[in-house]
């Protein structure tokens, strides 16, 4: 019982699409023992022709002896634009943690943030300032007069809060950890 090329083609497309690395004909043959090699080669060839058709944004490329679905070089500029416009609520874990410390302990200085996090946080603070999630709130009247940071209006919008009092507190989630008896 072997598979026909027409049945095989969509499966090959799905497999190549989900693979994070170029997938070779060898590998495809191993995954699909129900297909004979000649049919597999024919199905791959048919798939390649589909992707070569006019007006496609993707191509099926042979890379390092395997197959991979990629965008076409001519759309590079648009891809770059996309990468730039990603929503600013997306933060690295370091930035998220820094933002959390600022949100819950504002107004707070950089040395104080670093004291809590135990790591240098200058870059994370800069990122958050760039994303306008935090803003300077004056200076602390101590030696060196360090800048105090707090969250911005943009922060409230991004996290869907009306005001800071809506931030969850330890008490809010205490019942969630304690009341774990039956759920």
């Amino acid at each position: 019982m072997t598979m026909r090329a027409e049945e095989l083609k969509p499966i090959l497309e799905a497999l190549i699409f989900t693979a994070s690395e170029p997938i070779t004909e060898e590998e495809l043959a191993q995954i699909l023992p129900e297909a004979d090699r000649a049919t597999l080669a024919a199905a791959l060839e048919a798939l390649r022709r589909d992707y070569e058709a006019e007006g496609r944004g993707l191509e099926l490329r042979r890379i390092a002896g395997g197959y991979r679905i990629c965008t076409r070089p001519e759309h590079h500029e648009y891809i770059r634009r996309y990468l730039k416009t990603r929503p600013s609520a997306r933060l690295s874990m370091a930035a998220l943690e820094t933002l959390a410390v600022i949100a819950y302990r504002q107004p707070i200085t950089l040395p104080e943030i670093q004291e809590i996090r135990g790591v240098n946080s200058a870059r994370a603070v800069r990122t958050l300032l760039e994303k306008r999630l935090i803003e300077p709130k004056g200076r602390k009247p101590v030696v060196g007069r360090p800048i105090l940071y707090g969250t911005s209006r943009e922060f409230l919008i991004q996290f869907g809060l009306n005001d800071l009092s809506e931030l969850p507190t330890i008490e809010d989630f205490e019942e969630l950890t304690e009341g774990a008896s039956a759920s």
């Binding site: 891809i79 609520a89 997306r90 410390v101 869907g160 330890i170 008896s181």
Partner: protein, 268 residues
């Protein structure tokens, strides 16, 4: 349910955890079906008995409900308090239905069915249970679809899409780390004067002379150096050791003054 509504007579529910006479659940081969709470259990019993949810034979269902709890108990399973509250509710409804309706004026005849609130809750719960099943089947379908493999552009941006809860968790994690660090510092700093003195006593029980300068060099922090210094002074004060300097600006030696450390003796 209000305090006053609890039944003060009737069935005793033998449901309390028994500390003695524990039955090993391994001895039982009976497998109890698991329910998502008392409402789920009740719906199951109603379905099993093929009775109408709008006209529950309360005595029969109550008996089966209690029977289920007894079997749970026999298997040594913890019975959540919600099950007990429901048991009490059922018994209350049952007792209320047994009482003859007091004579009333004609316009008051429509006495409320004691089961009404329970029926309402069961109907309400049942809808969400059905909705949960729909979500389950949707999740099943979604588990069968896959998105593309990783691209280089993903690698460049290992970012998270954060919610308020993530923010809270991040803060909690930072605070937990801070607490751990502080405990570590405290643990380290709590090698206090008393401990240092004890340490030095032990040292002088073994050795008659110690190069204090070299000893000071072993301190890992200014704090430890200070504690060490105070400990040495203390031992000098109680005349356990005396300090000698062999030459000006030279090394300082600590010499044990007697062969016996009185405190070590006292301690046995």
């Amino acid at each position: 349910m209000r305090e006053g509504e609890w039944p003060d007579q009737g069935e005793e529910i033998p449901l309390h955890e028994r500390e003695s006479e524990r039955v090993s659940s391994a001895r039982y081969t009976v497998k109890l079906e698991v329910f998502e709470g008392p409402l789920d259990l009740l719906l199951h019993l109603i379905k099993q008995e093929r009775v109408s949810i709008y006209d529950i034979p309360i005595a029969r269902i109550t008996e089966q409900y209690l029977d289920y709890l007894r079997r749970m108990e026999a298997l040594d399973l913890t019975i959540a308090s919600e099950y007990l509250v429901m048991a009490a509710t059922l018994i209350y409804i049952k007792s209320k239905m047994l009482l003859p309706a007091p004579a009333r004026a004609a316009d008051e005849a429509e006495e409320e069915d004691p089961r009404r609130e329970l029926v309402r809750r069961l109907l309400e719960y049942q809808k969400y249970k059905a909705a949960a099943e729909l979500l389950w089947s949707r999740a099943e379908r979604e588990q069968a679809t896959f998105t593309r493999g990783r691209l280089e552009t993903d690698e460049a941006n290992p970012e998270v899409n954060a919610t308020v809860f993530d923010l809270f968790r991040a803060f909690q994690r930072a605070m937990e780390r801070l607490k751990e660090r502080r405990e570590l510092v405290i643990a380290r700093e709590q090698i206090t004067l008393a401990e240092k003195i004890a340490e030095l006593r032990a040292l002088f029980r073994e050795r008659e002379r110690v190069d204090i300068t070299a000893l000071f060099e072993t301190a890992r922090s200014r704090r430890e150096l200070l504690i060490l210094f105070l400990a040495v002074l203390e031992l000098v004060r109680i005349a356990l050791i005396r300090l000698v300097q062999t030459e000006r600006f030279g090394r300082i030696l600590a010499l044990r003054t007697s062969d016996v450390d009185p405190e070590a003796d006292a301690a046995g």
